[in-house]
């Protein structure tokens, strides 16, 4: 019996040493002093002891019970007095300590948003080289050598037939060369044009192009898909309009305008008082592009579209100078 009492005493020393709060203290009290606790359990065994052992065991057990009670109370006092430390005076108007965090570049955020919309529509993300053969940038896309349609695509050259791609349409050709339809992909990436740098022109920028090829793709599908995109990207109230235009690699071609997100179409400085903002070019794939990649233009039809990411980010965030994206001023980067 005395051994048992010692064991419980040892156990209690351990437990009380680890008690860090009121909840554990209560658990300990129940464990030792509760109606079905360890002490009560030993108490209930006292009557069955041999006569001569009863007094000593009773004494020891009472001492233990008193000690447990005392130490629990003492522990409780220290814990409570510790709690009173929080009554310290502070200046609540001092700035909070903000956990540091970094930001993604606004171009990345815009790209993620654009990609996300098309990915949800089943488009696969595809990439291709920035240093390209002239063929992929021009001839395969029905942009003949020395034709005025090339004027819109001034290009950096590395050597005679090698250049920096001036649009990501190059990736369209590469995909079609090595895959059979159906194709459904978007192609984000950096593109380069030797434009004099000003508030709206940069010699490097980002594009996202999209391509779908299948047996029964129609121009009306382009309208359906881009309608979802413009509404998701710029808001439910944004209207999109399709205007006939010209791109050598699509036929029919369209320029897509959205109702000005600044003035809601009323006319303002940003939309040159037209109420509309040009945001992307699109069309059904020109059969000559299919011929260039070895697809049968009779069998397949396609749709393609392309947009400048900087332009979209500028409209979305109200940024008025494209150079800000590449200056990397921390006061700019921290805003997005």
């Amino acid at each position: 019996m005395l051994e048992k009492i010692n064991e419980i005493a040892q156990l209690f020393t351990n437990d009380i040493g680890n008690a860090r709060g009121m909840q554990t203290l209560e658990e300990i009290r129940v464990k030792y002093l509760g109606r079905k606790g360890l002490v009560a359990e030993l108490m209930s065994k006292l009557p069955s002891l041999e006569k001569e052992k009863k007094p000593a065991a009773g004494r020891e057990l009472n001492t233990l019970k008193a000690r447990i009670q005392k130490e629990l109370e003492a522990r409780q006092r220290t814990l409570l007095s510790g709690a009173s430390l929080t009554r310290e005076e502070i200046d609540v108007t001092m700035p909070g300590i903000k956990p540091p965090e970094g930001r993604l570049h606004p171009i990345t955020q815009t790209l993620n948003e654009i990609n996300g919309i098309f990915v949800s529509l089943g488009f696969k993300i595809a990439e291709g080289p920035e240093i390209e053969k002239e063929f992929y940038n021009f001839e395969a896309l029905n942009i003949p050598l020395e034709h005025p349609s090339r004027d819109a695509f001034d290009t950096f050259y590395i050597k005679k037939d090698t250049l920096l791609r001036s649009h990501t349409s190059t990736v369209q050709v590469r995909i079609m060369e090595k895959t059979k339809p159906p194709i459904q992909a978007i192609m984000p990436g950096r593109v380069y044009r030797p434009d004099a740098v000003d508030a709206t022109h940069s010699f490097m920028f980002h594009q996202v192009e999209g391509l779908m090829v299948d047996r029964d793709i129609k121009f009306s599908d382009l309208k359906g898909i881009l309608n979802i995109f413009t509404k998701q990207m710029f808001g439910e109230k944004t209207e999109a309009r399709f205007r006939p235009s010209f791109f050598p690699f699509t036929e029919p071609s369209a320029e897509v305008d959205i109702s000005c997100i600044m003035c809601r179409g009323k006319g303002c400085r940003v939309c040159s008082h037209t109420g509309w903002l040009e945001i992307l070019g699109a069309g059904t794939v020109n059969p000559r592009v299919f011929e260039a990649v070895g697809y049968s233009p009779r069998k397949y039809k396609g749709l393609a579209f392309g947009m400048g990411v900087e332009r979209i980010a500028m409209l979305k965030y109200g940024i008025d100078d494209i150079r800000l994206f590449f200056e990397n001023d921390i006061r700019f980067l921290k805003q997005f």
Binding site: H105, G122, K124, E130, T162, F246, E251, P252, K301, I330
Partner: protein, 682 residues
């Protein structure tokens, strides 16, 4: 191209609000970018796409308007059909013209008009010329410009009395000189097409006339030229001379050969009417005409391209109004393209013509069947996204810098330029080469911010570096890291600067997230631009995955940075194959840990990683974590030593560890350390 509302109405009864007309034209592809209203008229500024040279003419735009409004197009009679030459006997005998290069000049017409009276144009003509944004000169020049604007056919009038003998259309000889009407002396390139008399060129064909034979108030006899020049040749010449004119702009885009003699007739009639004179016969060399293409048109095919249900009657009506000839033969329609629409080559083009006039806004919205890609994102996309989100979580800000940089910036950064990709035609010195390293861009961004009083900078960029070896171009994805200045600026933390161990810690944390915990080894390295003693290579399975270090002070000063900069490059392709983004749950021990500190005094040359690996090896199974909690160098220990305090966490997966067990392993670790690294303990 500027065209007034009233001029358009000369050819079509457009009885609608000019703004309504503007919107109809814009929405059918003849885009009006701006307009101005002056004196009751409207002047529209059209943006004509490269495929539509026919709309670089007022009649072309009027044809569009007529098709949109369902009204007839009224064309002046000289332009409708070419009047047959009245009699073959009436041949021009006073003048010899020869075309030496029929490839560059497939058709050349000229006509002598004698006894003209040169003077100012009548008001109506001056107004038309001014409305198009040109300057009235005299009646002859104004008429040629008027017909150019009206028909799109460039014309040129020479003062025949100032031309010396026979005229030839030929390629220029090297070094031939001409002063053009803008009073600029120009040297011809060999092979560019000129109109020359017996002594010298008198005009650069299709681009600009010469001063010598310019029509002025004294002119009595003119030679009226109307021709078709090869578009590529004109484009090259205009680019070479860096001049563009109303004429060259149209020739480059390919004019309608059929209009060559008609425009001449039209201008001749106007000259006689306005400045008097006697018209000579038309000299017409190389009678080619515009190629006409016949296409089988099926309205079903057009509807399947467009997703519409336009009826056949409507489609045929639209194409007719646009100038196509239609021949309906029991279901199949043969369409013949007019000379001014050489951009139309197949059924997709015809579908576009129908759609433009039918109205893109009337095409329904549909959703195609998805292609069923099995994989939407490649692993590299997911991997790069993970890198970016991890680093922003670790308080780094993403930057995007130019992939084109200057040669001097890589010299400043002390980077080898042997295999760099060089740009042939940069616009400025900032675009000379494709970056072989991300370091210059990073330093530029840091420098920019320090100059603007930023205190704490932590940046990363995911991009590519470019190279060339034996004609093969490479593009390698790389992550760059840059830390500079104070770690935190707030009151709560003292102004401690970033150190090597911050960039190392950032890299370790990133690699941990990418699934590389614990197996990366760091050793001293040598990397361009980084200081010799603070430069480390991180390896995984013998492959270099990253380099980190402090930027050489000479290099950072080259970018105007005074503060210390810590830089890292991570080679994404070397990481890709081994990365493990998937997580598996590892059950953790339910038994308590025992912490023991070990304070080691070691030679400065003893590597921390060697100490830790001995601790881990000897304490295998029980040592769960070894944390360096203190580093001491100073008075209390010898000069060539340092003291390292490690906190070791012992834990068993099977039971609560007894003190004696821990003590046993701990002393084994100690003796292994003394044995292998000759360290002592404090």
């Amino acid at each position: 191209m500027k065209v007034s509302y009233s001029w358009i109405r000369d050819y079509v009864d457009a009885n609608i609000d000019p703004k309504k007309l503007m919107s109809l034209l814009t929405m059918s592809g003849t885009n009006v970018t701006s307009y101005e209203s002056t004196g009751g008229d409207y002047i529209f500024d059209f943006e004509i796409t490269a495929n539509r040279p026919d709309c670089l003419a007022v009649i072309g735009i009027a044809r569009e308007a007529a098709a949109l409004l369902g009204k007839p197009l009224k064309i002046p009679k000289e332009l409708r059909r070419l009047a047959k030459p009245k009699s073959k006997s009436k041949k021009e005998t006073s003048l010899s013209i020869s075309v030496k290069d029929a490839k560059l000049c497939p058709r050349y017409t000229a006509r002598v008009i004698r006894d003209v009276e040169v003077g100012p144009s009548p008001d109506w003509l001056r107004e038309r010329i001014i409305s198009a944004g040109l300057r009235p000169v005299n009646n002859i020049v104004d008429i040629t410009n008027f017909v150019l604007l009206e028909t799109g056919q460039p014309l040129h009038a020479f003062d025949l009395d100032r031309i010396n003998g026979a005229i030839s259309v030929r390629c220029a000889r090297k070094g031939e000189r001409i002063i053009t009407i803008d009073n600029v002396p120009r040297t011809c390139e060999e092979g560019m097409l000129v109109i020359a008399d017996e002594s010298a060129p008198v005009a650069i064909a299709g681009v600009m006339g010469g001063l010598q034979a310019e029509v002025n108030d004294m002119t009595r006899t003119i030679l009226l030229e109307s021709a078709f020049f090869n578009p590529i040749s004109i484009r090259r010449t205009a680019r070479f001379l860096r001049v563009g004119s109303e004429s060259s702009y149209r020739f480059e885009r390919k004019i309608d050969v059929d209009m060559v003699p008609r425009a001449s007739e039209r201008a001749s009639a106007l000259i006689v009417e306005i400045s008097g004179g006697n018209i000579g016969p038309l000299i017409d060399i190389g009678k080619v005409s515009s190629p006409a293409k016949t296409i089988n048109f099926s309205v079903d095919r057009a509807n399947s391209i467009l997703g519409t249900s336009v009826d056949k009657k409507r489609a045929v009506k639209i194409l007719k109004a646009l100038g196509f000839s239609m021949e309906d033969k029991k279901g199949s329609v043969k369409v013949t393209t007019p000379g001014f629409r050489q951009d139309v080559k197949g059924d997709a083009d015809l579908a576009e013509e129908v759609a433009r006039i039918y109205g893109y806004e009337n095409i329904p919205l549909t959703i195609p069947r998805i292609a069923g890609n099995t994989r939407i994102k490649d692993f590299i996309n997911i991997f790069e996204e993970k890198i970016k989100t991890t680093l922003t979580r670790l308080n780094l800000n993403e930057i995007i810098t130019y992939s084109l940089i200057s040669k001097s910036s890589i010299r400043y950064a002390n980077i080898n330029d042997d295999e760099t990709v060089v740009i042939e035609n940069p616009l400025s010195i900032d675009q000379e080469i494709m970056r072989p390293s991300m370091l210059p861009g990073m330093l530029k961004a840091i420098s920019h911010n320090f100059k603007r009083y930023a205190k704490s900078l932590s940046f990363f960029e995911v991009g590519k570096v470019y190279g060339e070896k034996n004609g093969i171009y490479t593009e390698e994805p790389v992550l760059s890291l840059g830390l500079a200045g104070v770690k935190r600026e707030e009151w709560s933390s003292p102004g401690e600067d970033f150190s090597f161990f911050d960039i190392k810690g950032t890299l370790e944390k990133l690699l941990g997230t990418l699934g590389f915990s614990g197996e990366i080894s760091f050793k001293k390295g040598a990397h361009a631009g980084l200081g010799a003693n603070t430069n480390a290579i991180a390896e995984y399975k013998g492959k270099q995955v990253a380099r980190i270090g402090e930027v050489d002070r000479d290099v950072s000063r080259g970018f105007d940075i005074e503060k210390r900069v810590f830089y890292g490059e991570v080679y994404i392709e070397n990481l890709l194959k081994e990365a493990q983004l998937d997580r598996k749950y590892i059950p953790y021990s339910r038994y308590p840990s025992v912490m023991r500190d070990i304070s080691i005094v070691a030679d400065k040359g003893t590597a921390s990683c060697d100490i830790v690996s001995i601790i881990k090896e000897v304490g295998r199974g029980l040592v769960k974590e070894t944390l360096l909690v203190e580093l001491y160098k100073g008075k209390q220990i010898p000069k060539d030593k340092r003291a390292l305090l490690y906190r070791i966490e012992y834990r068993s997966d099977e039971k609560t560890l007894e003190d004696a067990e821990v003590e046993k392993v701990h002393s084994e670790i100690k003796s292994a350390l003394t044995g292998k690294l000759s360290v002592s303990f404090r």
